[in-house]
């Protein structure tokens, strides 16, 4: 029989105002096995913990029940306190009488009764608790960063800086991400390439960092400290080791009609290509969808011209298995394609472009070599209309768009407007907005410069229709402040489309068992206090994959994630969750039912010799659980028909004891 101590927390008045704590202490004190029962103002306080520790010592307690707030809040606190007094921490159970009682019930009698019942359930469970010892598992001192944009780059650099190995998996042929496509950055207007490419070079040169470009994560197994990841290196048909990035192949390739994705399809490239001059790794890639050799078997020009023999048309996808202690998701975003907005004419008018396309049209390395020319007739636009919040801040019922604010559009549009006005003062620039949001250091100043200094026409209102007529874009809009309908003849319309998480994020989240919100942004472990960690241990979040951000915010979050990873990798061993599954070999049938539902591959089988009846021996196949690998979900315990598989800390008997206590008359 256990000797159980029960402690009822008042939580100030949080509990005590609704629950008659004295009555609860008195009622639970009468339960079999309870040798001490008391109430206290703040059990989690230093003095509350001392009270508990004194009672453990004085009353020789073997089990403790704390009736207080959610175990998600202070279970660890009370377990630690018990441990300090020599009591196994897993002999402590919490009855949640705050979130589940005092905060939701008003009637004192009813709340008190429920608190007593929850207390009884916890006592019933403690009666069956057994001391548990946490095992340890080693930490693989290497991190994986999924995504090689500025977020991934910064995280990788910081982790490498601390002396740990980092791998970056980037699905494109080069790292750099969206930032590499941007022309200038707000609010300082420095050139994105000028600040990004040195970091890309740092990555390439850092001995601790290995880049898997043109690669994707294929599968993730394992758990914090011990992930096993299969990486698919997609065939680029060019030997990365041999290729020097000289670019001769990309000049000689006869297939010139490939839409250039880096320039948002505004110009073309060859079938063999290097996305941009500063690409890292600077290695060519063959686009098998366009390569004549790959499609017809006739051509081979690039191979002929390649001085180092790097071209290999027979290359196959390769799976690389790597082990990691931590994984960072930095999967980034894409601007939404606004094709579903017929009224804005993106799909029909060549001169309706997205903001990112405009970036390329203004970039010196872009399709127009930095001169702003509109796509249709390559003429300089004299009237430019910007439309804000395309696909952002939509009603929940609006299936075309996103409910959230994409956060960066107001600022980059101000930047675009300003740059156009500065370079081409003869251009009239209109910005249609719902609100202008400029919280950030020097942001509002920046925006005001656009309005006041550069004379950009900011109009609060919505664009209703854009149609092309004889090379002119007829823009119909409403000015909400004056209530007038406006008709503007524009040469170029720029849509600030919503930021949306990269399509690959969903499947990566599933592999990582990291949760996502309804918009497919990764969920953080705590919105305020743990913003760079996923709820899944060992998985961290960097950049826009967690939510819309600008570059400085992305970089700071990237460094924060790196700090968390470093904190993890700095440990030699991790304490395992002792609440893991355990197989009773005497009952095990070896039927493999449990193995089939284990997400971690924690169950293995072996033939073992057992004593049969009357001095015989027999050999049976039985399961055993790798305690370091098991995460304690309990799927196996239900799959097991014989009841051989049970979960420590949440055993069949314990849960049924709780059921019994709750349902008791």
């Amino acid at each position: 029989m256990q000797r159980i101590g029960v402690f009822i927390c008042h939580c100030g008045t949080n509990i005590a105002a609704t629950v008659d704590v004295k009555a609860v202490a008195e009622a639970l004190g009468r339960e079999p096995g309870v040798v001490f029962s008391t109430d206290y103002q703040y059990m989690c306080s230093e003095s509350g913990q001392t009270l508990m520790r004194d009672a453990i010592r004085e009353h020789k307690l073997t089990g403790v029940v704390v009736c207080s707030c959610s175990p998600r809040m202070h279970e660890a606190t009370f377990r630690k306190a018990a441990e300090k007094e020599g009591l196994n921490p897993y002999m402590v159970e919490i009855a949640n009488i705050r979130e589940q009682v005092s905060w939701i019930h008003k009637d004192i009698a009813e709340a008190t009764e429920k608190a007593i019942i929850l207390g009884r359930a916890a006592i019933a469970k403690v009666h069956l608790n057994k001391p548990l010892t946490a095992g340890e598992s080693p930490v693989t001192k290497r991190a994986l960063v999924i995504g090689g944009g500025i977020a991934g780059i910064q995280t990788a650099l910081d982790i490498a800086e601390a002396g740990f190995e980092v791998d970056i998996v980037e699905k494109e042929p080069t790292i750099g991400g969206k930032m590499a496509q941007i022309d200038k950055t707000f609010p300082t207007l420095d050139c994105a390439a000028c600040i990004l490419t040195p970091k890309m070079v740092d990555v390439a040169q850092n001995e601790k960092i290995r880049i898997f470009s043109y690669s994707e994560v294929e599968s993730v197994k394992g758990f914090v400290g011990n992930f096993k990841v299969a990486i698919r290196k997609k065939a680029r048909y060019v030997d990365e080791e041999k290729c020097t990035g000289c670019g001769i192949c990309t000049e000689k390739c006869p297939q010139k009609k490939v839409p250039n994705a880096f320039n948002m399809g505004l110009d073309t490239r060859r079938a063999i290509y290097i996305p941009f001059a500063q690409a890292v790794p600077k290695v060519a890639t063959i686009d098998a969808n366009y390569c004549t050799m790959m499609k017809t078997g006739k051509c081979g020009i690039c191979q002929k011209f390649c001085g180092v023999g790097a071209i290999d048309y027979t290359q196959k996808d390769q799976i690389v298995e790597r082990e990691y202690g931590a994984i960072v998701a930095a999967t980034g975003f894409n601007p939404m394609k606004p094709t579903q907005y017929d009224e804005l004419g993106y799909a029909t008018c060549e001169d309706v472009v997205t903001s990112l396309e405009l970036e390329r049209l203004m970039n010196a390395a872009g399709p127009t070599a930095g001169t702003l020319l509109r796509p249709s007739d390559k003429k300089h636009p004299h009237t430019v209309v910007f439309v804000q919040c395309v696909g952002s801040r939509c009603d929940a019922e609006n299936e075309k768009g996103k409910p959230y604010c994409s956060k960066i559009c107001c600022m980059y549009t101000a930047k675009h407007a300003m740059l156009i006005r500065e370079k081409y003062p003869d251009t009239e620039v209109y910005v249609f907005y719902i609100d202008v949001r400029t919280p950030g250091k020097n942001f509002d100043e920046f925006y005001r410069r656009a309005v006041e200094q550069y004379g950009v026409h900011y109009i609060k209102g919505q664009v209703g229709k854009v149609v092309e007529e004889n090379g002119t874009l007829k823009v119909q809009a409403s000015d909400l402040l004056s209530g007038e309908q406006l008709h503007i003849d524009a040469d170029l319309v720029v849509l600030a489309t919503a930021v949306e998480p990269d399509k690959s994020a969903r499947s990566i989240a599933t592999m990582l068992t990291a949760s996502m919100d309804t918009n497919d942004f990764f969920t953080e472990a705590h919105a305020k206090l743990r913003p760079v960690e996923s709820p899944t241990a060992g998985i961290f979040l960097s950049g826009v994959c967690q939510g819309p951000k600008d570059i400085p915010e992305t970089v700071s979050q990237a460094s924060a994630a790196a700090a968390k990873v470093i904190g993890l990798l700095a440990k030699d061993k991790l304490t395992c969750n002792p609440c893991v599954a355990e197989s009773d070999e005497m009952l095990c049938n070896g039927c493999s039912s449990c193995e089939k539902v284990c997400p971690y591959g924690a169950i293995t089988y072996a033939d073992k010799e057992f004593r049969g009846p009357n001095r015989t021996t027999l050999i049976r196949r039985v399961a055993s659980v790798n305690a370091a690998v098991c995460q304690g979900c309990g799927a196996c315990t239900v799959a097991c028909p014989s009841g051989a598989m049970d979960l420590k800390g949440f055993s069949n008997r314990q849960i049924m004891a709780e059921v019994d206590a709750i349902c008791k008359m």
């Binding site: 959610s70 175990p71 998600r72 809040m73 949640n96 705050r98 979130e99 589940q100 009682v101 905060w103 939701i104 019930h105 008003k106 009637d107 009813e110 709340a111 009764e113 429920k114 019942i117 929850l118 359930a121 599933t510 068992t513 949760s515 996502m516 919100d517 969920t523 709820p535 899944t536 609440c579 539902v597 997400p599 995460q631 304690g632 979900c633 309990g634 799927a635 315990t637 239900v638 799959a639 979960l647 949440f650 069949n652 849960i655 049924m656 709780e658 059921v659 019994d660 709750i662 349902c663 008791k664 008359m665």
Partner: protein, 145 residues
């Protein structure tokens, strides 16, 4: 004359630690009430819920049993709720086949962010059970006196 006691159903809610239990916590911290008849048992994952526990609850006097877990796809353990979903689908179908009221058992997917859904679900479920009345078809009279 004997006074007629108002029927207060007993409801057991198995909640997974990562989503639904946290959802219940959020309901609590948001002060979103639901009947005191609902008592929560914390399990690591919905896949920990053995049909035995559900029958046990009915045996011991529960009038309704609800299991709440992470939304499919969001399981902390990747796949636990998918297995739980199959198990409960089959179990509930069997209970129905035996003529045991279908409404006494329920599964809901409630995330840590859905405090309001937690409260709403429990209110609805408690109302359903109250309307159904006492569990007679899966009762064990020995536990009732």
């Amino acid at each position: 004359m004997q006074d007629v006691k108002e029927f207060r159903p007993k409801i057991v809610a198995f909640c997974c630690n990562w989503c639904s239990y946290a959802g219940a916590d959020l309901a609590g911290s948001s002060r979103l009430s639901y009947p005191a008849d609902v008592k929560i048992i914390r399990v690591p994952c919905s896949c920990r819920v053995n049909p035995l526990f559900i029958l046990r609850a009915f045996q011991r006097g529960a009038d309704g049993v609800i299991m709440a877990g992470c939304h499919p796809g969001d399981c902390h353990y990747t796949s636990g709720n998918y297995f739980a979903r199959r198990r409960m689908t089959l179990l509930f179908s069997m209970l129905d086949y035996l003529g045991i009221e279908r409404e006494r058992t329920r599964v809901e997917w409630i995330s840590a962010a859905e405090g309001a859904k937690f409260s709403k679900t429990m209110n609805e479920f408690a109302a359903t059970i109250a309307a159904l009345g006492e569990n007679k078809r899966l009762e064990d009279l020995r536990c009732k006196n």
